[in-house]
Symmetry: C2
Subunit: 209 residues, 2 copies
């Protein structure tokens, strides 16, 4: 849990959880998202809600790991003794929602006025391009951490800015552009991040066009 003071400094609560009782417990809701959770945790929690409510089946893929050495002790589980983190070749999340293939990645930035494109790897963008080509619903969930603002940003919009950086364009997307083209997602109680409501908007606008 981190508290962000107006002067920009951050206070991190000690890990043994000597922190004020959650606003949830006080039955007074302040919907800034649970500041103790990372974006990944917020999304996982939301996905679990969607799963349990039979709304969608969307999971985070496990982190790819290259295993070098494994021990097999007698009568106990195999122990991985040497392994390395690998770069993901796809996005982190995918699944199905009402017959639609959903594919997205989640990115946080501490910047206040823009989102650096370097947050994406080239192969992630290429993966999304291939999924869009197959008819998938692809996007990024972009969080401005310091202001707790979250946006769904369509992959097709991302592609434009991604490609333009190679022909003299900017290496980042202005927050004002993300506000204009993206769909703002407001934190809620359950699911924490109701991003499928934003996907509904995408699907509706698709139907109209």
């Amino acid at each position: 849990m981190a508290i962000h003071y107006p002067n920009g400094s951050t206070y991190n609560w000690p890990k043994d959880n000597h922190r004020p009782k959650s606003h949830y417990n006080n039955n007074k809701l302040t919907l800034y998202g649970d500041r103790g959770m990372t974006l990944e945790q917020e999304i996982n929690k939301s996905n679990l809600y969607y799963l349990n409510q039979d709304i969608a089946v969307i999971h985070k893929k496990p982190t790819p790991i290259q295993i070098v050495k494994v021990d097999y002790p007698k009568r106990s589980a195999a122990v991985i003794k040497e392994a390395y983190f690998q770069k993901a070749s796809t996005t982190d999340y995918n699944g199905i929602y009402m017959g639609n293939y959903i594919d997205f990645d989640a990115k946080e930035t501490r910047n206040l006025t823009s989102f650096p494109l370097a947050n994406f790897h080239k192969h992630q963008v290429e993966h999304m391009r291939k999924c869009v080509h197959q008819g998938g619903i692809c996007f990024a969930l972009i969080k401005f951490v310091k202001t707790d603002e979250l946006f769904l940003f369509k992959a097709t919009d991302l592609f434009s800015y991604w490609d333009s950086q190679y022909v003299g364009g900017k290496k980042s997307i202005k927050k004002t552009i993300i506000e204009k083209l993206g769909i703002k997602i407001n934190y809620s109680l359950n699911p924490t991040i109701p991003y499928l409501s934003a996907v509904d908007q995408l699907l509706n606008s698709k139907g109209e066009s």
Copy 2:
């Protein structure tokens, strides 16, 4: 590469690859699948073909691993020093094919006349059930290793046999049933396992019904 003798014993070629040249190298194709590849490798290779040909975007999910200890040596990559394999909570493969969400698992059996249901975990079957509910195309690729026969078996068929084992039914599916209800997939050169042709049959029969 393992050679399976008729008496049931197995000979594993030494790792330095002193094994007979692949039939592919001899330019004489025997389409039993490459016996040096596991089913997983065959599917990964096929998925790569589908990906490169812009036919579908289907990936194997990384194996979930619980990381306990990581070292961060100076000036080099983080090394995982203690970690354990976790059971997957979903199937191994998913992705998108012509707008359809695809979700499946691959299972091998050395049995000759039946496929033991114990090859599946309960949560994998539940995952497929939820995906089918959302409109996904779900199935198992079942390989009878000793005869190199491969079948696409629809998840909805699997559910019947899976459920019946809890009410006095058999703990396995007879091969004759898999031959009757499933779709046989013949090995080919590229993709090694043309399983999307079998999916086409599923999609066509869906359209008719």
